[in-house]
Symmetry: C2
Subunit: 311 residues, 2 copies
C-alpha cells in the first residue's frame, strides 16, 4: 500500500565521542523513507531542499523506491542544515548550528499522483505545516501517524493540539509525554494524551525502549537492544517511525497485535541506524541483517513462565 511521508530532507554534520562527519545526508523524511522502504514499495515524499542538494543524495532516496517528485527544489536556495555534538552518554547533545534555509518558507504541496495514499507519516515539522498536508488529501488515509517534539509544545501549542486532534497515532519521547500531560507516570500521561484525539500513543524512551498504548488501556513494551557501541544516535527515532509505518503499510493490518510487531521492526531498524554515522548502516541493508536483528529482539525478552503454585 502507498505511504506518504512529510518530513525534512537535510544536511547533517555530526560529532560524537567516537568521531565526526562532514555534511552528510540527514533529515527526518530521509530516515523515515529509507526505513519504510524495507517493507513497502510505493513511497512518496513531500519535502523541500535547495539546489545545493546533490544528485547522489537524490539517488539514495530513489534507490529506495522513494518517489521524489514531491521534493521541491528551491533555485538558489540552501538545504536545511543541522550541526550537533553528542555527549559521552549519547543521550544528550548540543545543537551547534541550525540553518533553516529553504525550510523557513516551506509550503508543502501534495502532487496529484500522491493522492489516495493509505498511510501518512507526518514527520517532525511545524504543526501547521503538518496539518496543511493532511488537509490537502482528498481521501483520509487509513492511518495517520504524527511525530513531534517539545520545541513545538513550547512555541506552537495551540497549533500542535489542533494537528494532534486529527491523527490516529502520536509518537513522542518520555520527557515530551510528561511535558504534554503534566503527569510523571507514563501510564497517566498516556491516558491524558489519548483524550486529545489519537487512538494510539507510542512513547519512545531511547536506549530504554518504547511503549505503545491504546484507548482500551492495552500496553506493550518493546525493549531497546543493549548495544556494544552506539556510534551516532541521529535518526534513530525517525528510523523507528519509518520502520513502524512501513511494516503496517506492508501488512495492511491495524490491529494492536500487528502494531506490536511493527514496533519491533522499527526498533530493530533503529538499533542498526545508530551503529554507524547517518544513514550509512541502513541505506543498503540486507534482509538477513534485519531478520537477525529482529531475532535478537525476540530472544532478549523471551521467557517461558509457569505459574507458581498457590502459597
Amino acid at each position: 500500500m502507498s505511504l506518504l511521508i512529510v518530513g525534512t530532507v537535510a544536511f547533517d554534520k555530526i560529532e560524537t565521542p567516537l568521531g565526526k562527519t562532514d555534511k552528510i545526508l540527514g533529515g527526518a523524511g530521509t530516515y523515515i523513507g529509507v526505513a519504510a522502504s524495507y517493507f513497502t514499495d510505493i513511497i512518496n515524499i513531500v519535502s523541500v531542499v535547495g539546489d545545493d542538494f546533490p544528485d547522489k543524495y537524490h539517488k539514495i532516496l530513489q534507490d529506495h523506491n522513494i518517489n521524489t517528485n514531491g521534493i521541491q527544489v528551491v533555485k538558489g536556495g540552501k538545504t536545511f542544515f543541522w550541526e550537533g555534538k553528542y555527549h559521552t552518554d549519547m543521550n544528550s547533545r548540543d545543537t551547534l548550528v541550525t540553518e533553516l534555509n529553504v525550510l523557513a518558507g516551506f509550503d508543502p504541496v501534495v502532487p496529484d499522483n500522491y493522492q489516495n495514499c493509505e498511510f501518512l507519516m507526518l514527520g517532525n515539522l511545524e504543526p501547521n505545516i503538518q496539518r496543511k498536508v493532511l488537509n490537502q488529501l482528498k481521501k483520509r488515509p487509513k492511518l495517520v501517524v504524527l511525530d513531534t517534539m517539545n520545541f513545538w509544545m513550547d512555541i506552537a501549542w495551540e497549533a500542535l493540539l489542533e494537528t494532534i486532534s486529527m491523527v490516529d497515532l502520536l509518537t513522542i519521547n518520555d520527557e515530551e509525554a510528561r511535558q504534554m500531560s503534566g503527569e510523571y507516570s507514563l501510564v497517566k500521561a498516556a491516558r491524558k494524551i489519548l483524550t486529545l484525539g489519537p487512538k494510539y500513543l507510542i512513547i519512545k524512551k531511547g536506549e530504554h525502549g518504547a511503549l505503545l498504548f491504546d484507548k482500551a488501556e492495552n500496553c506493550f513494551f518493546a525493549p531497546a537492544l543493549p548495544l556494544e557501541e552506539v556510534f551516532d544516535p541521529t535518526g534513530a527515532g525517525d528510523t523507528f517511525a519509518g520502520g513502524f509505518i512501513g511494516y503496517l503499510a506492508k501488512t495492511k493490518d491495524l490491529s494492536f497485535e500487528n502494531m506490536k510487531r511493527a514496533i519491533i521492526y522499527g526498533s530493530a531498524l533503529a538499533s542498526l541506524t545508530v551503529e554507524k554515522f547517518g544513514t550509512d548502516k541502513i541505506a543498503y541493508l540486507k534482509s538477513n541483517a534485519l531478520n537477525e536483528r529482529v531475532e535478537r529482539f525476540k530472544a532478549l525478552v523471551e521467557v517461558d513462565i509457569k505459574q507458581i503454585e498457590k502459597f
Copy 2:
C-alpha cells in the same frame, strides 16, 4: 532449599511526593526475606538490631518463616535508622539522616543451625562483613548472590573486589556498572565486570527494567511494569533480589532459562513493593496478586513475530 540472607534490618522514615511515614520497618535483609518467603520455606537471616526493635517487627519476619535466631539484639543499642526524601521523579532521593547505630560494630556470626545453606544472599553491606559471612560457611552454597552499591566502590574498592571475586552473581544498578567498569555501554560494562569473578551479572535499571548477562554473552532483559503510581521506591531493589533468589531456591534450577523466570518473579514483586510505603504491600500478599502481576509482565512484551520475506 535453605536460603541464608545477610542484610540490614532497620528503621526507615520516608517522605515521597505522595506522603510520609513515621519510623517503619525497613532494611535490605527485611525486604529480601519477605520477598523470598513467597517461594522458599527455610529462610535464615544474619543481622543486627538494637533492643528498641519492637516485637511486632520481629513477628512480621517470623510470620514469613524467617528464622531470626541469627539477628543479634544488642542490649542498650539502637537499630540502624535511615531517613530519606524522594524527589518528584522518584528516581532520585536525598538522605536526610543515617544513624548506623548497632550496625557500626556489626560482627556477623552464622549460627550452627544456619550451616549447609544452599543459597546465600549477601545484601548490601560493607564488603568485608559480607565476606566474613561467606567465610564462616563450612560448605560453599550452590549459589552466592552479592548486592552492593557505589558507596563501597568509593571507600572500600579493594575489599569489594575481593568479595566480588568469591561470588556467583552480582547485582548492581546501571550507573554502578558504568562506574565499576569505566564503560558507558552496558554490554561492554558487563563483559568487564564478569572478568572479576561472578559468572552472572544483573544490572538493575529501576523503572527501565533489568538486564541479566552471563559469561557466554547471553543477555536477557526484563522490563519494569509501567505503573499508574509509584508510591515509595524504597526496597524495590532488595525485593527484586529476594524474589530472584527465593525463586531459584524453590525451583533448584540454576540454568540461564530459569534465572530469566526468577528475574520476572523478582520484578513482579518489586513492582508491588513500590505501590505502598515500606513493606505494606508485600508483607501479606495473596498468591493470586503475584500471579496476576507476573501475567502482566508476560503480556507486556509478548509478541508473535513472523519473519518478513526477503527484500
